[in-house]
Structure formats: structure tokens, C-alpha cells
């Protein structure tokens, strides 16, 4: 498991108290792992440790060599001085023409064709979300961290984005770590669901959803069983 992203006895405390206390877990090399838990249990802190935005007080985080990590933040975090197209192009490491062309392609894939020239202030909340997703996907990488990425999207856009971000062929070949507190979302998208509690962050249970991701809406009877099981665990 040397080529897997893992945390070993990681601790992190803030003024309010410990959020991670000897937390250990090894993620699979690819697929989608949902971190499911109530707000404030430490899910975002875990993501911040993984991407290096914060350092653990103690413990080790092993990131596989030659990993490239991308992140869809809870907020859009778009550069206000740049257009939607330039926000995507800015994170790409190629010449400006190629970057802009790639940005346009991604805008089209998230349903924003022709909107590339608009500034974040001219976009709706949902459109900004989609630009932020397009930026993270265009940046690429073999690990994608998603912090409640579909929050605030209308039902149809949410499903389109979920399919684009987590159900495509590219998506299944990388490791996706999805932070959510929506059981349905986790069941619909993840291969493994970590049921979490905290702080300090604790794994209550790990559920493997053994249904091919593309046939999940049709396997309702199996999902019902999983759903009830997870809800029981969360109530405990």
C-alpha cells in the first residue's frame, strides 16, 4: 500500500480543542471515498491536512510519489479580476492559447459554453460553482479532493455535475475524496463511505458500496439496505 494516500496517527488541535487525535486511514489508489459526517466533525480539516494547506501537529501523511492533487473547495474561490475562462486558464501550466482553448472546452463540459468572458461578479452562484469545478478538473491530477462541491446547485445541474465529476471514466481512474453530509449523495457516488463522528474525528464505520457506480439508480433495493444501515449508524 506504499502507493496509496495514507494518514498515520495524525493529530491536529486548534484553540477550541483537538480535531484530529491519532487519526489513521489508508485510502485506495483510485475510486471514490465519501467522508460522511455531521458539520464540524473535522472532515474539512482532514482534507486540508491531505493537501498540505495545514500541517499536522503529530503523525505522518504519506502522499504517493508523482501525485498531483486538485481541490474543489466549499467556496468557489474564483479570482475576481479574471474572467471565467481566465480563472481556469490561470491554473494550467501551458501557453496562453492552449490554456484558453482547454478552458473553453471545460466550460462547455460544465454547460457554460459562451460564458467564458464573464467575470465572477457577473455569474450566478451555480455558474461560479461550475467554473470552480471546471478549474479543478482542467488542472487534472490523480487525487481530487471535493469539499461539499454540489452544495447550492439545483437538482438537475447537481446530477449533471455529479456525473461529470465523479462518474466518468477519468473519475474512476483517480482517487476522489468527497466530503459530504448527504447520505444520498454518498450512496450515489462513492465506492466506500467512511461514517465519521467528532471532533476529534473518529471512523464509526466503513461501508463498501459494492454496486457498479453506473447501475446505482437501478439497484434501489440494495441501496435501501445501505441507506438504512448508514442512518442507523449516524443516529448512534
Amino acid at each position: 500500500m506504499a502507493d496509496c494516500l495514507s494518514l498515520s496517527v495524525v493529530s491536529k488541535a486548534y484553540d477550541s480543542g483537538p480535531v484530529l487525535l491519532g487519526f489513521s486511514y489508508t485510502f485506495p489508489a483510485h475510486g471514490c471515498v465519501a467522508l460522511l459526517g455531521t458539520s464540524g466533525c473535522g472532515k474539512t480539516t482532514l482534507l486540508r491536512q491531505l493537501c498540505g494547506l495545514e500541517q499536522p501537529d503529530r503523525g505522518d501523511i504519506t502522499i504517493p510519489s508523482a501525485s498531483k492533487l486538485s481541490y474543489i473547495f466549499q467556496e468557489d474561490r474564483l479570482l475576481p479580476a479574471l474572467t471565467a475562462r481566465d480563472n481556469i486558464a490561470a491554473v494550467l501550466n501551458c501557453n496562453i492559447r492552449a490554456a484558453e482553448a482547454l478552458a473553453e472546452q471545460w466550460l462547455e463540459r460544465v454547460g457554460l459554453a459562451g460564458e467564458g468572458g464573464k467575470y465572477p461578479a457577473q455569474l450566478s452562484g451555480g455558474m461560479k460553482r461550475r467554473v470552480a469545478m471546471a478549474r479543478a478538473l482542467a488542472y487534472g491530477g490523480n487525487i481530487l479532493l471535493l469539499d461539499e462541491p454540489f452544495k447550492g446547485l439545483d437538482l438537475q445541474t447537481k446530477q449533471e455535475m455529479q456525473n461529470l465529476v465523479l462518474k466518468g471514466h477519468d473519475a474512476r481512474s483517480r482517487l476522489n475524496i468527497l466530503v459530504t453530509h448527504d447520505v444520498e449523495e454518498a450512496l450515489y457516488l462513492a465506492d466506500r463511505i467512511l461514517i465519521l463522528d467528532g471532533p476529534p474525528l473518529t471512523i464509526i464505520d466503513e461501508v463498501a458500496v459494492d454496486i457498479p457506480v453506473h447501475s446505482r439508480p437501478q439497484s434501489e433495493d440494495v441501496l435501501v439496505w445501505h441507506r438504512e444501515y448508514i442512518h442507523r449508524k449516524l443516529k448512534k
Binding site: C51, R77, L79, A81, A90, V91, A99
Partner: protein
């Protein structure tokens, strides 16, 4: 439709500005009529006519050019120093603690003390440059420091995650965030620059200077000249400020676009 709305707004804005100017000119005229002494207050018409008269003389333009070059030199020097100090003190708390007492000293010390001291240290022609520099540097420093401190941390984290190079971070995050503070620094700084620069000229009396002309008008009790030169200073200050703001806006757009 949009163009017509924008035009209407511009016309309205200009009309408001003109109305304000007319109001204060009227107040000035009333004050002149109440005092009825040209030695105390000259009429607006008399002051503007005298300014027109002066502008026909070569020494007027010499004084304008010399004062402008001194004040603008001091201002530019202060800009660079202020920005440098802001970056340095925002980067290190120790350096902030080390440099911040200078701010308090400059604020508390009377301008006249600095002018007299500068007269001892420098040639009289250089005193206005030094004074402008000394008075404007803290203004730029404080504004830029606040600007850097208020840069959106979320955007910096985003830049960190996506491994944005330093130049892109500066162009896309720092410059757009700091720009409003820089514009405020320029606007306030230019006001300070003219005030302190002309005050230094009045005391140091360098060769060919607006300050020297104001001093002469005081000595010879030429109140209309005093008003005319003061109007010239105000007009110059407004003109340079507008030119600087226009230049800054263009520069910001170029930097942000050019770094992609």
C-alpha cells in the same frame, strides 16, 4: 439603451459637480462682499483673472515646473519606499515592530521641525523633495500594509493548492486586492505631497518655486497673488491626481492580463 443610460448618468454626475463648484464659488463671493477688503479676501473673479495674467509670464511656468518636479520626485520616492516597507513589515512581525515607531515619530513631529532640520542637512532645492518623501511615505506604507493584510486568504490557499507561481499570485491576487488601498494611498499621498512640498518651499525658498511666490505675495501683501497661486496648486493637485488614477487603472488591467 445601455449607452444612453450611461451617458445620462455621466451628464448627471458632471452637473452635480458643477453645481457644487458654483455653490462654493458663491460662498467665496459672499465672504468677499461681507469683508469688503481685498487685503483679506479677493473676489473669485479677481483671483482667476490674476491667475490668467500670471500664466502669461515665463516665471509662472518655471515655478510650476520646478515645484511639480520636486513634489512628484518626492512622491515617487515615497511610493517605492512605502511599498517596500509595507511588503517587509507584512512579511515579518519583527520588522513591523522594528519599523513601526518611525510612523509614530513622523506623525508626532511638527512639519516645521523637519523642514528646519532638512535645511541643515540638504541644499534648499532638495528640502521640498525630502519633506514630501517624509510625509507621504507613512501614508503609502500604512495603506499598503492594510491592503496586504486584507488579501483574501481563501484565494491564497487556492493558489497554493493549484501551485500558482509567485508572479501569477502577485498579478492575480495581490495586485487586484491591494489596488484599492494603493489608489487610496496615491490619492491621500498626493494631497499630503502638495501640502508638505509647498510648505517646505515657503520656508526653504528654493530657486523658482510656487512656495517662494506664495511667500513673496505674503511679504508684499499681494493677496490676489496668494489666491491665484493657491488656485494653481489646487488645480495642479487635482490634475496630477486624475492622471495618476487613470494611469493606475490602465496599469492594473495590463498587469492582470499580461500575466496569463
Amino acid at each position: 439603451m445601455t449607452t444612453s443610460i450611461t451617458k445620462n448618468r455621466t451628464v448627471k454626475r458632471i452637473a452635480i459637480k458643477l453645481a457644487v463648484a458654483v455653490f462654493w464659488l458663491a460662498v467665496w463671493q459672499v465672504a468677499y462682499l461681507i469683508t469688503a477688503q481685498e487685503l483679506l479676501i479677493v473676489s473669485p473673479v479677481r483671483a482667476f483673472l490674476r491667475l490668467l495674467e500670471l500664466s502669461g509670464e515665463a516665471k509662472f511656468w518655471q515655478a510650476i515646473f520646478s515645484s511639480c518636479s520636486r513634489i512628484v520626485s518626492g512622491f515617487i520616492l515615497a511610493m517605492f519606499t512605502g511599498i517596500f516597507l509595507a511588503v517587509l513589515t507584512a512579511w515579518s512581525r519583527t520588522l513591523y515592530a522594528l519599523f513601526s515607531p518611525i510612523l509614530n515619530i513622523i506623525r508626532a513631529t511638527p512639519v516645521a521641525s523637519f523642514i528646519i532640520l532638512a535645511l541643515v542637512w540638504f541644499h534648499r532645492d532638495k528640502v521640498p523633495v525630502f519633506l514630501t518623501f517624509l510625509m507621504v511615505t507613512p501614508v503609502v506604507w500604512v495603506n499598503m500594509y492594510s491592503g496586504i493584510q486584507n488579501v483574501d486568504k481563501n484565494l491564497l490557499e487556492m493558489a497554493e493548492v493549484f501551485r500558482l507561481p509567485l508572479l501569477k499570485r502577485i498579478s492575480f491576487i495581490y495586485i487586484p486586492s491591494v489596488m484599492p488601498y494603493f489608489v487610496a494611498a496615491c490619492s491621500n499621498g498626493l494631497g499630503f505631497a502638495w501640502k508638505s512640498g509647498i510648505a517646505a518651499e515657503i520656508i526653504a525658498l528654493p530657486k523658482s518655486a510656487i512656495g517662494k511666490q506664495i511667500y513673496n505675495s505674503k511679504i508684499y501683501l499681494e493677496t490676489q497673488d496668494l489666491f491665484a497661486w493657491t488656485i494653481a496648486v489646487i488645480l495642479l493637485s487635482v490634475l496630477i491626481e486624475h492622471a495618476a488614477m487613470w494611469g493606475l487603472r490602465r496599469l492594473e488591467r495590463k498587469i492582470v492580463k499580461g500575466r496569463l
